[in-house]
Structures are given as C-alpha cells and as structure tokens.
Amino acid sequence: MIRYIAKRLILSIPTLLGVIVAAFLVIHLVPGDPVEVMMFGANPTPEQMAQLREQLGLDRPLHVQFVDYLGGVVRGDLGESIQRHRAVALEIGDNIGPTLMLTLAGMSIAIVVGFALGLTAALRPNSWVDNLSMGVANLGVAVPAFWLGILLILLFALTLGWLPATGQGGGRRLILPAVSLGLGYSAIIARLVRSSLVQVLGQEYILTARSKGLVERIVLFRHALKNALIPVITMVGLQFGNMMASAVVIEVLFARVGMGRLLVTSILQRDYPLIQGTILVFGIVYILSNLIIDLLYSVVDPRIRYT
C-alpha cells in the first residue's frame, strides 16, 4: 500500500510542475507589456513603472524568474498583491476555507440526491419512477447553477422567506448556495449510479447471493452497491475540482467571500500576482483531489494496487 501511495505521489509531480509553469506564464502571455496593462488608467510615471517591473522581477531573464517563482511556491511565498499590498498566500488563506466549505456542502447534496435518484431508478428499471428520476436528472444537467440559484432565491428567500438570500457563513446561509451548486452534479451522479447498479445487478454473483437466501437488503447494500460504487467514486473525485471551479459563479451570486470572488476581483483589477496564486491553488486542489480518489479507489478495489 505504501509503495502504491509513493508511486502515485511521484506520478503527480509532472502535472504539478505543469500547473506551476502555467500559473507562472499567465503574466508573460499577456499581450503587450504586462506592467502597462496593470497600471492602465493610473497614469504612471516611468519610475513607477520601472519600480513595479522590478518588484515583480520582470526585468530579469525568464529562466531566472521561473526558478525564483518555483522557489517561492515551494516556500509558500506567492508574491504580493498589487492592489491589496498584502501577501498573496495570506489572501488565499483567508478565502480558501469558505470555498472548501461550500464545495464540500455542495458535494454532499450532490451525493445524497444523486444516490437517492439513481437507486430509485435502478431498482425499478424502465418503470415510471425510473423515467421520472432520469427526467429530473436530464433537466438538472441543462440548468446552469447560477440560474438555479436565482430561482431558489426567488422561491425560498423572497417568496417564502424560509432562508436568507445572500451572505457569508455556514448553517442556514449555506443551504441555498450548496443546493444550487450540488443539484446539477447530482444529476450526473444519478445517471452513473443507475447505469452502474443496473449492470452490477445483472452479474452472476448477485444471483448467487440471492439464491443462497440472503435478504434483499443485504444483497443490495453489501454485494451490489459496493461494486457499483467504484465508477461513482471516480466521478465524484473528478467532479470535486469542477465543482470548486463552479463555486466561483455561486460565490458571486450569493455575495459570499471565497476563492471565486477573489479570482473575479483580481481579474477585474488586473492584479496578476493574485491571479497567478489563485489559479495555482485551484490547480493544486484539483490534482490533490484526484490523488485522494485514486487512493480511496485502491481501498475499495484491491485489484488496483497490484496492476
């Protein structure tokens, strides 16, 4: 097991390096002079421009800059925000918690609703329950999270007055954002749970389990679901990163603090060190979540470790 973990860790290093290179290159790919773009509208003197260029290290050769950047990333130093005059790492530290909380809450909704719909559908394939569940799932994929959020605000906050419309924090304030974020993904999970479970229920070992007289509940949960879970876990892992990226839009809609709002503001203010840092952290979280899923996968399915 330890060897497997070590192997997976080593295999993710090239991708990690690629993400660092991509974040590093963002400022260099800006058409024209990045310093001019950043100071646009501020009527900078040539001295101010030279100072910013020096502060960002843009006056040095590209490879020297990259080695510096890489060293900074390793030490956790992501530079300083131009607009906020504060370390990028500190800004991200303030904002990543709320985004992770929102993403985890959204993921919980997606998993619970997705499994409920998928199980219901799989147990009675081609019945009206199946058609209804899959119809809801189809619709769920076509509704953008931000519009679902608007509808939920209109219904539950403004018409019924049950929940707060916008704002920071957990508890009741987290419900509407999490549902807006998670419901679309629950549709994807529901379809996968259904197809995976229908396939597993047709296997011979299910027939064996049933014919030796096991209760249907045990057949379903201990034999079928455990095997049907494998593709679902992969999907959930892949979707975690996607969901965190979708949280950008939800944070803007619900006026919540987080990585998404940080990224949008930094793009609008052309605060490149902050943009670079935010992108880097999103990429790293994505790689990490894939890594965790791979490891989880090897726990559920021991065959993986030996191949």
């Binding site: 993400v19 953008p144 509808l151 994807i188 379809r191 996607n242 979708s246 793009i267």
Partner: protein, 304 residues
C-alpha cells in the same frame, strides 16, 4: 493479388449508395425519437430567431426608458421591462444570436485546434505524442470554467475574447477524443492498406482516419455547444464578458441579481432561454448518438 487504386472506397467508410442508405436509416432512427425530434424543431426555431430576431423584436433592446422601470410582464411588454425600462423580450430575442454565435465560434476554435492536435498526437511517434499529451494534461488540471477564466485573465474581458476563451477551454475534449480514435483506428486493415499503397501520413490521417471518426466528432460538437453556452453565459454572468448595454442572457441575469427582491421577471426569462437552448442541443446530441451509432446506446451527452 491485391491492387489498390485511389478511387477504391475504404472498407468501413460510407460511399456511394451504401452511404445514402445508411444516412437515411440514421435519419429515420433520429426522427423516431420524440425527444430528439422536438429538440431539433426547438433548435431550428432558435436558429431562425438568431437570424430574424432583430426584425421581430418589438422594441430597441438597448434604448433606456422604452417603458417604465421594472414593469411586470403585460400585453405591451410580454416579459416585462428591466431596471432601465428596457424591453426584456427584445433583449432575449437579440441575445439568441449572440449566444448561438458565441458557442458556435467557441466550438469551431476548439475543433480547429483540438482535432489537428489529436491527429498529430495519435498518429506521430512517441515524442510528439508525449509533448501534446502533457500539454493536454496541464489544460485538464484546470477544471471546467477555470481554464476559460485563465484565458480571460490573460486576454482581458469582452465578447470576442470570451468566445476564444471558451473555445480554448474545450480543446482538451477534442484532442483526447481524436487521439484515442486515431490510436485505435490506425490498427485497422484499411489504414495498413492505404500505407502500403503509398499514402502519405497526412493523407491517411485526413482522408482515411478522420472520416471514420466523423460520428463521435459530430456528437461531441453538439454536446460541446451545450458546454460552451454554460461557460460563456457563466462568464458573462459574473461580469467578465460582454460590456453593457449588450443584450446577453448571462449578463442580463447578472444585472437582475440586484432587483430580485422587487422583480422576478428580469431574473427568470433569460435563464429560461439558456435552459431551453442547452436542453435542445443535449437531447439532439443524445439522439444523434443513438441514431448514428446504435452500438453506443446509453453513452450520451451527460457522461462527461
């Protein structure tokens, strides 16, 4: 004795009367699927609206004070008016062209870059494949909308740049599909036959392999239009896309956020337009998949 002339059709590739028969059968299968048929009609209506929208829109979509501010839907203003007294129906009609055009351009950009990349990766040797595949891996480590946002961060905001950004974010989907298909297609006998007949690599890739992955590419492109609509409207919604007063569905929903407490209609109708468009392309994609390649039944637009 095996002789190969250039005119001889490849096995497995529709040609002549056989191709027509296949196409007609596929069309019949598509038309027999009610969801796909209705979606195709909805899509046709949307395309017509995209062309004639400006002609049938009752009012000027950007003129401030066409009616009273935030007037609820009525006979005069079917979808009501927004915070500047602009007619929402007119804005939704104008927005159709913008959204369809943006998603189409994005898909063309993605296909135009992704297909050649995939062909090169799949058909060239290990070194080229390695470089391209690593590049695609890096693109893929920025999930969903984030890749498009990175391109916006580099290029800046605005309609044209968002189209390019969305296009770039869809490149990996094309490159991966084409690379995988080429890898499996190049083991086929007809490719070997073409190679021994003296065809150049480029010719084999474009004339022999590409036509054989036409079906999955067509299905992917339909689905990709749906993704493009979601990503583009999202970017416009968070305010990094079109500049006001451009009538755009996502941007209009973004503006409606501040008035939800007093008016439900500005936050509702543009969203309805988005959902109808995405649902239509997704169901058409599913229908095409089942009609063109019945073996793959059940692998649809949603299995990302």
């Amino acid at each position: 004795m095996l002789t190969l002339s250039k005119r001889q059709p490849d096995p497995g590739q529709p040609a002549g009367s056989r191709g027509w028969k296949q196409a007609r059968e596929a069309f019949e299968r598509f038309a027999a699927n009610p969801a796909a048929l209705v979606s195709a009609i909805v899509m046709l209506v949307l395309i017509v609206v995209a062309f004639v929208g400006p002609a049938i829109a009752p009012y000027d979509p950007v003129k401030i004070g066409t009616g009273p501010r935030l007037h609820p839907p009525s006979g005069q203003f079917l979808m009501g008016t927004d915070q500047f007294g602009r007619d929402i129906l007119s804005r939704v009609l104008y927005g159709t062209r913008l959204t369809l055009q943006a998603s189409l351009i994005a898909v063309v950009v993605a296909a135009g870059i992704g297909i050649p990349l995939g062909l090169m990766a799949g058909y060239s040797g290990k070194a080229v494949d390695g470089v391209i595949s690593r590049f695609i891996d890096i693109l893929l480590s920025f999930p969903g909308i984030l890749l498009a946002l990175i391109v916006v961060a580099i290029l800046g905001t605005g309609l044209g740049r968002v189209q390019i950004a969305v296009g770039i974010s869809l490149i990996p989907a094309y490159a991966r599909l084409v690379r995988g298909s080429v890898m499996s297609a190049k083991e086929n006998l007809y490719v070997e036959a073409a190679r021994s007949g003296g065809c150049s690599t480029f010719r084999i890739a474009t004339r022999h392999i590409l036509p054989n992955i036409f079906v999955p590419l067509l299905v992917l492109s339909t689905t990709a239009i749906g993704w493009a609509i979601i990503i583009a409207t999202s970017i416009n919604f968070i305010g990094l896309g079109v500049h006001p007063p451009t009538p755009e569905w996502g941007a209009d929903l973004g503006a409606a956020r501040s008035y939800l407490g007093v008016a439900w209609w500005p936050g509702t109708f543009p969203g309805l337009a988005i959902v109808v468009s995405i649902l239509a392309v997704n169901l058409i994609g599913d229908g095409l998949q089942n009609a063109l390649d019945p073996r793959l039944k059940g692998k649809g637009a949603y299995d990302r």
